[in-house]
């Protein structure tokens, strides 16, 4: 089987699910004839027609709300946000309407809200965001953020089949840089299960999305230069989070570094740290440390963006500190 990119893997999942289930349809801005800003939906219009590949007005709250209404009636909408930064325009709809529908009204809301996320691409403050933590706090939503092409496809298929709303964050830095060979058959990756990206015994790096690849690069250097055996856990799903995988790696290495690209304060690393405290504090040999973005809007200039975002060298530095602790 040939390798395909992370982006092509997402498209492959969309095509397979639309072919499998006629209730699946796509909505978003410029996703039809243009194929989407990043061409994720390229070719879908030709194959499935404009009833199932719907170009919308610029109205994130409008079409996210419409997706919810269609989902109540048994449809399975997949909504593209042109950049995930614009998910804030639909924050009310997602947190107040969609997330509560099952609980307060027993209305199913099976829908996927997907979009290009993340930085390292000189996108500036409004085309680089990682807003996952803003939704982690909302019961009723699910959040996935794949790091590999295989997971991008398998999680998309799981998200479309899920009975609840899944926020599907796609890292645009990985779109064309990461490739994989898709497993054969109906490749579905279950939501809520982490993946061990690298086995190790001296310390654990818990991360997700683009920083999985930064962590793996750092782990190589730490092995080569320091003889450290570093385990890398790729969470893949943030809500629900795989607590068992987190506990298992803490009990194995006793030292934990959490890495995420999002800003620090109120970020997901804080939540993971609290869970470690509650569930396996007794197994720690050192405080849980974090490598994150600085708490600033993401600036445009390369020198500024590189300074704000976590780099491989940051992970190496903090991991060495943690190993010595």
């Amino acid at each position: 089987m040939a390798e395909i990119t992370y982006l092509e893997a997402i498209r492959e999942a969309l095509v397979e699910e639309m072919a499998r289930d006629e209730n699946v349809f796509c909505m978003g801005e410029d996703i039809g004839a243009y194929g989407g800003a990043f061409k994720v939906t390229e070719g879908l219009l030709d194959r499935f027609g404009e009833r199932r590949v719907i170009d919308t007005p610029i109205s994130e709250a409008g079409f996210v709300g419409a997706a919810a209404g269609a989902a109540h009636m048994g449809m399975r909408p997949v909504v593209e946000l042109q950049f995930i930064d614009f998910i804030s325009c639909a924050y009310d709809m997602l947190t107040n309407y969609v997330a509560t529908a099952r609980y307060r009204a027993f209305l199913p809301c099976p829908m996927v809200v997907r979009g290009p996320s993340g930085g390292y691409v000189r996108g500036g403050p409004f085309h680089s965001q990682n807003p996952e933590a803003a939704f982690l706090h909302t019961p009723g939503l699910k959040i996935v953020y794949p790091a590999t092409a295989e997971d991008a496809k398998g999680l998309m298929k799981a998200a479309i089949r899920d009975e609840d709303c899944v926020l599907f964050f796609e890292h645009k830095y990985l779109y064309r840089r990461i490739k994989g060979v898709m497993p054969g058959g109906d490749h579905v990756v279950p939501i809520g299960k982490a993946r061990t990206a690298r086995e190790g015994t001296d310390l654990s790096i818990i991360t997700y999305a683009a920083t999985v690849h930064k962590a793996l690069e750092a782990a190589e250097r730490l092995q080569a230069e320091d003889g450290l055996s570093v385990e890398v856990i790729d969470l893949r799903s943030l809500l629900p989070m795989d607590d068992d995988a987190i506990v298992a790696t803490v009990r194995k290495t006793h030292r934990v570094l959490i890495v995420h690209e999002d800003t620090r304060t109120g970020g997901i690393a804080g939540e993971i740290t609290a869970r470690i405290n509650e569930r396996c504090f007794e197994w720690l040999d050192a405080p849980v440390l974090r490598v994150t973005a600085h708490d600033v809007p993401l600036p445009y200039a390369p020198a500024l963006e590189d300074f704000v975002l976590p780099q491989v060298s940051d992970i190496v530095t903090v991991a060495r500190h943690l190993a010595r602790y």
Binding site: F25, R51, R52, I54, T56, P57, S59, A61, G62, F63, V64, G65, A66, A67, A68, G69, A70, A71, H72, M73, G74, M75, P77, D92, M93, N96, Y97, T100, R102, Y103, R104, A105, F106, L107, P108, P139, G140, K142, D162, E163, D164, P240, E278, R279, C280, F281, E282, W283
Partner: protein
């Protein structure tokens, strides 16, 4: 239909700055005229049930048996009941807080309403949501949320599903005058218009959004004037004339069903009670509420009309009213007899999978987190 009511003298006398009710506006089609006498009496019964049920809720509220706020639709029963009466059972609507009447017409029962307000465990939302915030797709209504305007995009999506599947069904969404100022209203109507989905949107203009009057809500001459901006038809009707509200809604519903796309309807009415029971309406000009109660009560008007045109007798009205009260009495007994929800019921159904959450460990009443966490053998020795 009704003889036009001349409001000019009253307005000149200073009963608020409300635009006169557009009584006697020409309406297209002849739907109301085709209603049978029995159907016209049924409309009366829905309006009476709405008002009497709310009066019962006031009594229960004063006994603190209604545990949250109480929202009245006094004076607006015609617009709610008449418009919902234009729907088929298979059609779906989303009511607003003053559309108790619409929900009753669409099949919600007084028992359900009472249990909702009293937060009972076997209420439609099992004590999770308040008042008339509940739905049932089988009977064709979707529960609203408090974020005004949000139901417009959602219901546009319900209508989109009908269009995509070629289903012969129509969607009706109610908003108040205040919700027309929201972004969600704009995005939803625009989406529906572009997609030409079978959606009818009713703006219930009752003069006030909480305390905010029309002139502070919009600079438009009328809410219906927003329709041309979306490229859809707009129609305004007297919201206190139940047959007029039925007429205009039915025409819009039929148009939507035939593939004609959305219509914006403004029903002009008046909110005689406060936003909720706690609201003393200090912001309302003197005499305004009293004028509407005396001169433009939708039930009084309809009683007169039915007497003149259908020769409905006082005895017939008395029998209908007694039947309504008996129904409410039975519903009250049933609602009062049912219990409150089990506390742990709050933890299920956030997701389909997992089906329920576990309570926090300190609510478990079993062991503390410290006791139940496994520890390495060296724990606490500090011998490193």
């Amino acid at each position: 239909m009704d003889a036009p009511v001349d409001l000019s003298a009253s307005l000149a006398a200073g009963v608020g700055g409300r635009r006169p009710t557009p009584v006697g506006l020409p309406v297209q089609g002849n739907y109301a005229a085709r209603l049978t006498r029995a159907q016209k009496l049924e409309l009366y019964r829905w309006m009476r049930l709405t008002r009497s049920l709310e009066e019962r809720l006031v009594a229960l509220y004063r006994q603190t048996k209604v545990v949250g706020g109480l929202f009245r639709s006094l004076g607006q029963e015609a617009d709610a009941c008449g418009s919902a009466y234009a729907l088929e059972r298979r059609d779906i609507m989303s009511p607003l807080i003053r559309n108790l009447g619409s929900m009753l017409v669409k099949g919600a029962t007084p028992t359900e309403i009472l249990k909702q307000y009293m937060a009972k465990g076997d209420s439609p939302t099992r004590g999770r949501e308040l008042n008339i915030h509940f739905g049932d797709l089988d009977r064709g209504f979707v529960g609203q949320i408090s974020h005004l305007g949000d139901m417009v995009p959602v219901m546009a999506g319900v209508a989109l599903s009908f269009k995509l599947r070629g289903e012969d069904r129509v969607v009706l969404v109610y908003v108040g005058d205040g919700a027309t100022s929201t972004g969600a209203f704009h995005e939803g109507i625009n989406f529906a218009a572009v997609q030409k989905v079978p959606l009818v949107c009713i703006v219930e203009n009752n003069g006030y959004a909480y305390s905010t009057p029309t002139e502070k809500q919009t600079a438009a001459r009328a809410y219906v004037d927003k329709a041309p901006g979306y490229g859809i038809p707009g129609v305004v009707a007297d919201g206190n004339d139940v047959l007029a509200t039925y007429e205009v809604t039915r025409a819009a519903v039929d148009r939507a069903r035939a593939g004609g796309g959305p219509t914006l309807i403004e029903l002009v009415t008046y909110r005689r009670k406060g936003h909720a029971e706690h609201d003393n309406q200090s912001y309302v000009p003197d005499g305004e509420i009293e004028w509407w109660a005396a001169n433009n009560d939708p039930i009084d008007r309809y009683i007169r009309w039915l007497g003149q045109h259908e020769h409905v007798t006082a005895d017939e009205f008395a029998a209908l009213d007694a039947d309504v009260l008996a129904q409410i009495d039975r519903a009250t007994d049933e609602a009062e007899a049912s219990g409150f929800p089990e506390p742990v019921d709050c933890l299920d159904g956030i997701y389909a999978d997992p089906p329920a959450l576990a309570p926090h460990w300190y609510r478990d009443g079993v062991r503390s987190a410290v006791e139940r966490n496994e520890r390495p053998a060296s724990w606490g020795t500090h011998d490193g």
